[in-house]
């Protein structure tokens, strides 16, 4: 399934909605969107992950990029990670650098 990412600013929060499969090819698109979001100087980065079915290591690299691009003061929240994505985050330890939140 093709990867898609949408960016919406809600006040000072940047909301990214991800869907499909985030692999090495599609990671570039996410990286570009993160850069755009960073340009708005958000106070929070909220990523809606409910419809993301797969994340390769390239996807994780973008999350690391986001963390470093935004700076420590900008919290990154991942909402509704599917089990395989969550597992990847936990095994690699990246879940300690972001907030994981269940879908509402």
């Amino acid at each position: 399934m093709a990867f898609n990412v949408d960016l919406v600013m809600k006040g000072s929060e940047a909301h990214l909605t991800l869907s499909g499969e985030l692999d090495a090819v599609s990671a570039g698109a996410l990286k570009g969107t993160v850069e755009t979001a960073a340009g708005n100087n958000p106070t929070k980065l909220i990523m809606h992950m409910q419809n993301l079915s797969f994340m390769a290591s390239a996807g994780l690299r973008v999350l690391i990029f986001a963390k470093q691009k935004m700076g420590e003061q900008v919290g990154i929240t991942l909402i509704g990670c599917q089990a395989p994505v969550r597992s990847t985050l936990e095994m690699s330890g990246f879940h300690r650098s972001v907030y994981l939140q269940d879908a509402e």
Binding site: A24, A27, A56, S57, A58, L60, R61, I64, F65, K67, Q68, T88, E90, M91, S92, G93, F94, R96, S97
Partner: protein, 707 residues
């Protein structure tokens, strides 16, 4: 803006690939803006080709010969632009002479692993049968260095304060009883950090984690059919890459992140990380072994060769890395610096380190450049350096390893003397007295101090602590070598019955002996090292050489915690006792004199009669008193401690020296008593009724505290 630098535009093309001359440093493959810098060295190769694969493919994606103008000296370096860093694997073909007699074994039919590859694919999931038809199974992968360390750095705990816990990454949590979500991996160790912290160890020493091949010499047991692996991994494929199969994320290529996360989390919880590193040989074996990397890149440089071009074998594993060749020396240094800086590793234990002091023909050097360089290297300036100070070629340097004020040693004499003492051999009192005060006979003559001594009674190599008191001889049949492998020199005693026993007296004695060992280790000056699982009575069923056992023999069975709660309780409390008493953790050797005016020497020796130690050949009793006012050279105050150890089979009545004025003896430890009266928590120690005598039980250790 780096990406717009004019000197980073492509200048050459090879088909669709855009290139420019690379930089020789650093060796290996490094991400640079817009591309990857590849750099590889060979003194005798005549040409070099970069071979790129799409991940997992058998046939190369491209072969890009390095243009002549891209070679600087003996280094080929090239930037390739627009590579998919996530999806590429790489290697090299080297042209050059094949003339073994002169040391050259070039073969351009082989795609060689980069010796500096920072991640290696091919054994991504532990134990998964490889596709044997796949050419060049070990391939380099590109690594991002974007890990978020936050404020982490190596802990730099004082060496004398460490309690080292030696573990096998897989064996620690592979057993189903571990309850780990990702058994046998770096991620699983992370889950066990609270356990380690509770036990009181503050340094984990990981058995080899550099990429190795568990299928090297793998085979089935001729009778049982059990698969036997290269489980321990003392056989390096790549020095710069973590073992992919140890990572739960290895199949995703994220082993680097997973290991760094483990290190960061251990640091956060106050535990250091030490690596057991194997620089004495490689996985390529002798002339009959596979060509993976070094042999095809520059055989004459990397290996010690006989005048006829065969491999010297000081490692017992087929070849010997040519460590004091300047190029190899630099590689070893670069490797250690990389792990110290990029992975925040706190220290290194060097396997068969005596080899690191041999010259290219194998002769021991009086002033080995490699050991000196490591000792003086600024990046390694705060790393712990520990030598296994012997090799398989007969060089035994315990007490004489070239130290340069930095190197500590696995104290093999500590292990041997303590084992003999524990089993009750007579006449060991004088030797044990040396060992418990940090072996001044070995390390005092040149001012190295007790921290030069890594004290241990068990390690991965040999019996576990439980097996040390349950087996007289080794039982290695499961290794498929007719029980011929493994050491016969174990100094073990089965307490009256070989193997498992239903006799309550035998089992009680074994438990006591285990506690005696743990107590003496934690009472000794020097740096204690324990073997993972010993705290819960882990057994390998008498196997003293589990190098090939990826099985229940080697995996820690966590159910032993439930079966042996008293052993675990004792180990935990005894470790806490050591941490609570700085008088046990001295940086300098005792002086046998009172240098703070306390009225007591820093250490005094006793026997069944106070002030009269029995150093005779029939002695099985020893006692010593450590003056608390001399703790840490008199800089901190501690309680005065008195320890009595007896290996006699009947109780012995010990006359006690008087405690310091105004203090009374309290019982902290008495292994002669059943749990929970074998050890008391701080503040709970009962006051001794008779302050002048103590009846020490058969084969027991007693510690009194003056307060």
């Amino acid at each position: 803006m780096e990406e717009k630098r004019i000197d980073f535009y492509p200048t050459h093309r090879h088909g669709e690939f855009k290139l420019r001359p690379g930089r020789p440093f650093p060796y290996g493959a490094t991400l640079v803006p817009g591309g990857v810098n590849f750099s590889v060295m060979s003194r005798s190769a005549t040409a070099c080709t970069l071979v790129l694969f799409e991940k997992g493919e058998n046939q190369p994606l491209a072969e890009i010969p390095f243009p002549d103008s891209f070679r600087i000296g003996n280094v080929w370096c090239m930037v390739v632009f627009d590579l998919d860093a996530e999806g590429i694997e790489y290697g090299y073909r080297m042209d050059g002479p094949f003339n073994p007699q002169s040391g050259h074994r070039f073969d351009r039919n082989v795609v060689l692993l980069d010796p500096c590859a920072k991640a290696i694919s091919g054994r991504d999931v532990w134990g998964r049968e490889p596709d044997w038809s796949r050419p060049f199974p070990h391939r380099g992968r590109l690594v991002f260095e974007d890990f978020d360390w936050e404020d982490d750095r190596p802990l730099e705990l004082p060496l004398e304060d460490l309690v080292i816990y030696e573990m096998h990454v897989r064996g620690f949590t592979r057993h189903p009883s571990s309850g780990a979500r990702h058994p046998g991996t770096f991620a699983a160790i992370r889950e066990k950090i609270p356990y380690l912290k509770d036990l009181g160890v503050n340094c984990v020493e990981l058995m080899p984690i550099y990429e190795f091949d568990e299928f090297e010499n793998s085979r089935r047991h001729p009778e049982t059919g059990q698969m036997l692996y290269n489980y321990w991994g003392y056989s390096t494929v790549g020095f710069f890459a973590p073992k992919t199969g140890f990572a739960a994320t290895g199949r995703l290529g994220m082993q680097v992140d997973e290991l760094k996360t483990l290190v960061k989390e251990l640091h956060r919880q106050g535990l250091e990380v030490m690596l057991d590193v194997v620089f004495n040989h490689t996985a390529e074996g002798n002339e009959k072994g596979p060509t993976i990397s070094f042999r095809g890149l520059d055989n004459q440089t990397y290996y010690m060769l006989t005048p006829e071009g065969y491999y010297y074998n000081f490692s017992g594993c087929g070849n010997t890395l040519n460590c004091n060749n300047p190029i190899v020396r630099n590689m070893v240094l670069d490797c250690l610096r990389y792990w110290a800086s990029e992975y925040h590793i706190d220290g290194f234990r060097f396997d068969l380190a005596a080899i690191l002091g041999r010259d290219p023909s194998g002769a021991p050097l009086p002033n080995p450049p490699l050991l000196e360089s490591i000792a003086y290297d600024p990046i390694l300036g705060k790393c712990k350096l520990i030598a296994e100070a012997w090799d398989a070629g007969g060089l035994y340097q315990v007490g004489s390893f070239p130290a340069y004020g930095r190197w500590a040693e696995w104290n093999g004499k500590y292990r041997d003397d303590l084992r003999k003492w524990l089993k009750g051999e007579p006449g060991l009192a004088a030797a044990v007295a040396q060992r418990v005060q940090g072996s001044p006979d070995l390390y005092g003559w040149n001012g190295r101090g007790p921290t030069a001594s890594i004290d241990f009674i068990t390690c991965h190599d040999g019996f576990t602590l439980y097996d040390l008191v349950a087996y007289d001889g080794k039982h290695n049949e499961a290794n498929g070598e007719g029980n011929r492998d493994g050491s016969d020199d174990n100094n073990s005693w089965n307490c009256g019955c070989e193997g498992e026993s239903a006799d309550p007296d035998v089992n009680a004695l074994r438990r006591r002996q285990i506690k005696n060992a743990w107590a003496l280790l934690m009472l000794s000056h020097g740096v204690p090292m324990v073997l993972s699982g010993d705290e819960m009575g882990h057994t390998q069923r008498g196997n003293n050489n589990a190098y090939c056992q990826d099985s229940e023999i080697s995996w820690i069975d966590w159910d032993r915690l439930e079966h042996n709660p008293d052993l675990h309780r004792f180990a935990r409390a005894m470790t806490a006792f050591r941490h609570a008493h700085p008088v046990l953790r001295s940086r300098d050797h005792v002086r046998n004199q009172d240098f703070v005016g306390s009225g007591l020497a820093d250490i005094t020796w006793h026997g069944t009669q106070a002030w009269k130690p029995d150093w005779s050949g029939s002695s099985r009793a020893l006692a010593w008193m450590l003056c608390g006012r001399h703790a840490k050279g008199g800089t901190v105050q501690d309680n005065t401690l008195y320890a009595a150890a007896s290996t006699y089979w009947e109780p012995l009545d010990f006359e006690l020296p008087r405690p310091p004025e105004g203090r009374a003896w309290h019982v902290a430890v008495n292994t002669g008593m059943p749990s929970p009266e074998d050890i008391f928590a701080p503040g709970q120690e009962p006051r001794l009724e008779n302050q002048s005598r103590f009846l020490v039980g058969p084969r027991s250790v007693v510690v009194l505290i003056a307060k």
